[in-house]
Symmetry: C2
Subunit: 338 residues, 2 copies
DNA sequence: CTGAAAGCGCTTACAG
DNA sequence: CTGAAAGCGCTTACAG
């Protein structure tokens, strides 16, 4: 097939002009070109089927138009939805997205960042899981801007973009109280770090003495944990889970043990992924503003505008809290029965 | 910060040798270097914190080490799981993944391919939705290999990697028959194209006269459609859905209308994403071998090995078909009561 | 085993 | 408004 790609020099030759001029018309600048010359160049480019070589351009101009996105696991629905929003935001800025899954392994995350830097990315968006190291530091040292989204390692220097969960968590607690629950437990992750730690703190300020549960973030772990607690008679009556994955696991465990949600367990989750609307019962959640987070992060990274601040997470009332499909609970977002 | 990045020339200068030799030790070839010289170079590189510039390397060597992945929508769990597997397979071959969501729009898909080609990708993996154009043709014309995964436009020239659903669909039909169902309906997409068309055909050869339903692929569309049918008394008693998203929507619609699955509707779905294990009831599915598909596609693209063929989809029996948690149905995969 | 040098395909000062 | 030429940071024939 393609013996040799058509180059800018080929276009120049055909248009009877210099490569400089061809470059100016292809890039629409930085210097003006006579209308007639421009026509000739455009015609020559079209006839030859010219496609600019971005890597040559990148080498010369020191900007690749590519941003690296490092992720824990793109098959986790929360990260998947976030990644989708980030890719879209980057696309709107004309950037291409290099993606890599670090899979909860700090070493792989470092490796990915190293390879992205070698690929000369213009920036780095890092959606890491708990407990990573400050990989953004290496990027900054190389003069490449970086931004954390959702999670940030302790003592990181790069900015973080995350929603404020304070109001939403307090609303979730208030809503469960309105349903008559006094003791509202919280299911956190294995450690008190990252956004989940923050969510837990927000819960704790609202609920002085209730129980703190822990388990891994997977659906399977949450299901097993729920089954065990139910068997032991140790399942609380009202629970807030840090993530949708955990809530979905709890739902599965409750079903296996024949425990009714919301009759015997009222549940609110704190992610609000699309999945949460299709569970049985549908999950009442605090919805993270993923798109706003993505746009904010990209704006911050690319420094084009002073980004507006990310909105708080919002309470979305469905049925796992005890509100019935027949009762119109959506009007109860102020938590007052009337 | 980084005034200027450390280059290979800097390393050569410090090691007191030529850039050629530095290149040879960094790349471990293609020509031999004396052990002592190699040590000096390695030491110099380490002291200077040298990081090879992949774009310069790419310009000269005409290979970027980057593969483009074009996707319909990475937030759809089926595509998300597949994308994750593809990224992993590429990573195992030392390739970086440039990702783009075409969002079911043929024009956007073309645009993405064009930009990936301009970025000089070494190959293209295309996971398109129904009805796309043959974007791989443009890649081949540019001398860039391409492979379709899951779906392929009609009259495409590039290879497709997809699982054979024949056996699995026949097993699904047989399993529902074993449950006593004679008329087994099928929920397809809006059109009879792509993998869903194939799945429908497989169903049709097994079921002569049963009903064919259609709706969009979204959960919401399937839910609405189910609600309407239930209200109209037009919901079949046994149904195979082309995708998990549709099955999850059907489950939601049935719940809203108080129709019990599997008591009044036996359901089997044909994707088998991780989500399908956590619905209520858990979905009996035909599971697509996503990892094998991804590895096969990447092997084919990179041409390193003659790839083994992709295994067939396999029936995974859970509860939406009518098998009970208490009954051990997993031993019934031969569909004979004994 | 090593070095000097050309060249990948662009962009961009520098002259005119 | 346009052209000739340098140079981005590598790899790789070509000599030795």
């Amino acid at each position: 097939m393609a013996d040799r790609a058509v180059t800018l020099a080929d276009v120049a030759r055909r248009a009877g002009t210099s490569t400089a001029v061809v470059s100016y018309v292809i890039n629409d600048g930085p210097r003006p070109v006579a209308a007639e010359t421009r026509e000739r160049v455009l015609a020559a480019a079209a006839e030859l089927g010219y496609r600019p070589n971005r890597v040559a351009r990148a080498l010369r101009s020191r900007t690749t138009g590519v941003v690296g996105l490092v992720l824990a696991d793109a098959s986790n629905p929360y990260f998947a939805a976030l990644a989708r929003c980030i890719e879209q935001a980057l696309d709107e800025h004309g950037k291409l997205t290099l993606i890599g899954n670090a899979g909860y392994a700090a070493e792989r995350q470092r490796n990915l960042v190293e390879r992205f830097l070698a690929a000369q990315v213009d920036g780095l968006v890092i959606v890491s899981a708990d407990g990573g190291t400050d990989v953004a530091a290496g990027a900054e040292a190389a003069g490449v801007p970086a931004v954390y989204v959702h999670n940030q390692p302790t003592r990181a220097h790069a900015p973080v973009v995350a929603a404020d969960n304070r109001t939403a968590v307090h609303e979730a607690v208030a809503h469960l109280r309105w349903h008559g629950h006094e003791r509202i437990a919280f299911l956190a992750g294995p450690h008190d770090i990252g956004p989940v730690g923050l969510r837990r703190q927000n819960w704790h300020t609202a609920v002085a003495d209730a129980e703190l549960l822990r388990c891994d973030y997977s659906r399977a772990a949450a299901a097993t944990s729920a089954e065990r607690r139910i068997t032991d008679g140790a399942m609380p009556r009202a629970l807030i889970t840090a993530t949708d994955e955990q809530a979905i696991g709890i739902l599965a465990g409750a079903r296996t043990r024949g425990l009714s949600v919301p009759d015997h367990l009222a549940l609110i989750s704190l992610d609000g992924t699309p999945d949460s609307a299709y569970t049985a019962p549908a999950l009442t959640v605090t919805r993270q503003p993923l798109q706003a987070m993505a746009e904010h992060a990209v704006d911050q990274l690319l420094g084009t505008t002073t980004p507006p601040s990310v909105p708080d997470a919002a309470l979305v009332i469905r049925h796992s809290c005890g509100c019935r499909p027949t009762t119109d609970c959506t009007t109860n977002s102020r938590h007052s029965p009337e």
